[in-house]
């Protein structure tokens, strides 16, 4: 049975969104943020072998996520505005500052998110997924697009 996304994310309907994939347990939001080629495994700084993580030590902190995505060429930046020639990611964190979710910016300036083991969605604003479970966006990352 398909999950009731507006029930889970009360702000989702504050702007347009579109479901862009079926549910899939094989990958999660961080894998999807790392890129479509990572949809065969789940990423999280959890003990191996339960999740994949690109570096050690595995730190479930914003700094740990910045370091991990530094392996992919991303660096911390300010703001989520669309910037030609660059790709952006957003990291959500809860009230303790612990990461909860990542979204990837699309060339249109909209965002794509994998919702745990549920569907991927395309959403216009990052605020649409903010709330008690994902918290709010606390960090942006960017890298230059290489041909």
């Amino acid at each position: 049975m398909r999950a009731d996304l507006p029930h889970i994310f009360p702000k989702l309907k504050s702007a347009p969104y579109e479901i862009t994939s079926p549910e899939d347990v094989k990958y999660n939001c961080v894998a999807w943020a790392a890129g479509p080629e990572e949809v065969r495994r789940r990423w999280w700084p959890a003990p191996s072998p339960f999740y994949y993580w690109p570096l050690e030590p595995r730190e479930e902190t914003i700094e740990g996520f910045i370091k991990a995505f530094g392996q992919l060429g991303y660096a911390a930046c300010d703001g989520g505005d669309l910037e030609p020639g660059h790709e952006r990611l957003a990291i959500y964190a809860d009230e303790t500052g612990t990461p909860t979710h990542m979204a990837r910016q699309l060339p249109s300036g909209e965002w794509t998110s994998k919702l745990g083991e549920l569907e991927d969605i395309r959403h216009v604003t990052l605020e649409q997924l903010s709330g008690s479970d994902y918290g709010r966006v606390v960090q942006f990352l960017r890298r230059k697009i290489t041909a």
Binding site: R41, W44, P49, F50, T100, D133
Partner: protein, 107 residues
């Protein structure tokens, strides 16, 4: 019909309890990517707390479809049959645990 205290009733009770907890965990955690939040969910913790009796039901559920029972299986059994190169690969981890269960006659 099974009588109170018979193995059949015990099995049914364990399975029903597992299915109820699994359904609640799925409802509350399916949208989460955080390993920590997923396994610290109270329903997931109660499944771990059921101990060795729940292992066959975790494996049968895995045989139906890959699900995130790997931490629970490892916590309850103290085993880890997953190869390091398969980390995060739900399909490969499911296969490893199902092979582990078959070798022990659990499924």
């Amino acid at each position: 019909m099974a009588e109170l205290g018979t193995p059949e009733l015990h099995q049914t009770t364990v399975e029903e309890r597992f299915q109820t907890l699994a359904r609640h965990w799925q409802e509350e955690s399916a949208h989460l990517s955080s390993f920590t939040k997923r396994i610290l969910n109270p329903h997931y913790q109660q499944i771990i707390g059921m101990g060795p009796a729940v292992v066959p039901f975790l494996l049968r559920d895995l045989a139906r479809e890959p699900r995130d029972w790997f931490w629970a299986l490892s916590s309850v059994t103290g085993e880890n049959p997953v190869a390091a190169q398969d980390e995060g690969d739900v399909v490969a981890m499911s296969t490893a645990w199902l092979n582990w269960g078959k070798q022990r006659g659990m499924i």
